[in-house]
């Protein structure tokens, strides 16, 4: 018969368990307050100025490109990372990695990004792309 004899782990229903102890709730509150403060601080830094994509390799900032608006010509180029060249495409959808020498290809599958604070990180190839500034929406409104 499997019975708990540890007084710190009482046998409770899942609904009761999910509520947590008072200490747990205080820890949750502190964590959420910290996350919210960090979120607003990050948004204040990244959302200012025109929308640009910054491309890094390791410690080096390789390039900063403005994000093309609707109707502007897309740009495509290669940058050299740790494993080899990564292909980058900038168009009205934002910035995306279209090919990468890494095995997981998570950076490629993550698709296009254009919102302030978005980033694409290819850790094996040590490439990081971040978006700063507010990108104007391609549509002023979407009406059904």
């Amino acid at each position: 018969m499997a019975v708990s004899v540890n007084p710190r782990i009482p046998r409770q229903s899942m609904a009761r368990l999910l509520k947590g102890s008072l200490t747990d709730r205080i820890l949750l509150l502190i964590s959420l307050a910290g996350i919210a403060a960090a979120w607003f601080a990050v948004q204040a830094v990244v959302a200012s100025g025109p929308a640009v994509a910054e491309i890094y390799h390791g410690k080096t900032l390789l390039a900063t490109y403005p994000l093309p608006k609707a109707g502007e010509t897309p740009k495509s180029f290669q940058i050299d990372g740790e494993l080899g060249p990564s292909e980058i495409l900038l168009n009205e959808d934002g910035v995306r990695i279209t090919s990468s020498p890494c095995s997981a290809q998570r950076c490629v599958y993550s698709g296009a990004h254009r919102h302030a604070g978005d980033m694409i990180a290819c850790v094996p190839n040590r490439i990081l792309i971040t978006i700063r500034g507010s990108a104007k929406r391609r549509f002023d409104a979407i009406v059904e």
């Binding site: 708990s4 947590g20 200490t23 949750l28 990050v42 390791g58 410690k59 095995s103």
Partner: protein, 176 residues
């Protein structure tokens, strides 16, 4: 008469068998989580970490740390990421989470498994970012991606803690 073979005490064998069972479960969950559709870069539900928490309660801090190391090494072998950056990031996250959970369970009064799991999940995510920033992409802007991911971590940490509490209350504790 042949030589007498001394057997280890039954309780010790039982502890080892329990540890091995948890290790196999953690490896299975590690591989399962790698096969799940990605919920975002570097984000997983943390089910394998839940097993580290169970090992901490059931078998003690040393067993939890060893399980965390064993799970990442053997799990990475199965999913083909052994000694890649992914392996280094998983190891850093798993070990930091184990150490933080041990400290929280031992030193924070009134904490339940939910709080322990919550702190473990947050430590796991932060350790991953620090590792990437230190070893692979040395850019502080990387931390800008942390707040939304930490929000997901608090959610999964809370849920996994409740799940761990449910399971742990139904385990047999032979030494207590």
């Amino acid at each position: 008469m042949g030589p007498v073979i001394l057997r280890p005490p039954l309780a010790e064998l039982q502890q080892k068998a329990n540890w091995l069972a948890l290790l196999l479960l953690a490896i299975g969950l590690h591989v399962f989580e790698a096969a799940l559709p990605s919920l975002g870069p570097w984000f997983k539900p943390g089910l394998a970490n839940l097993v580290t928490l169970l090992a901490l309660l059931w078998l003690g801090p040393r067993a939890a740390v060893l399980l965390s190391i064993g799970r990442v090494v053997i799990g990475s072998f199965f999913i083909g990421t052994l000694f890649t950056p992914t392996f280094v990031i998983s190891m850093a996250g798993g070990l930091t989470a184990a150490v933080v959970m041990i400290a929280a369970w031992r030193f924070i009064p009134g904490i339940s498994l939910i709080g322990v799991s919550l702190l473990g999940a947050i430590a796991h995510m932060v350790a991953q970012f620090v590792t990437v920033e230190t070893l692979f992409i040395q850019q502080g802007v990387l931390y800008f991606a942390l707040p939304p991911l930490l929000l997901l971590s608090t959610t999964t940490g809370w849920l996994n803690g409740a799940l761990a509490g449910y399971i742990a209350a139904r385990l047999e504790f032979p030494n207590e």
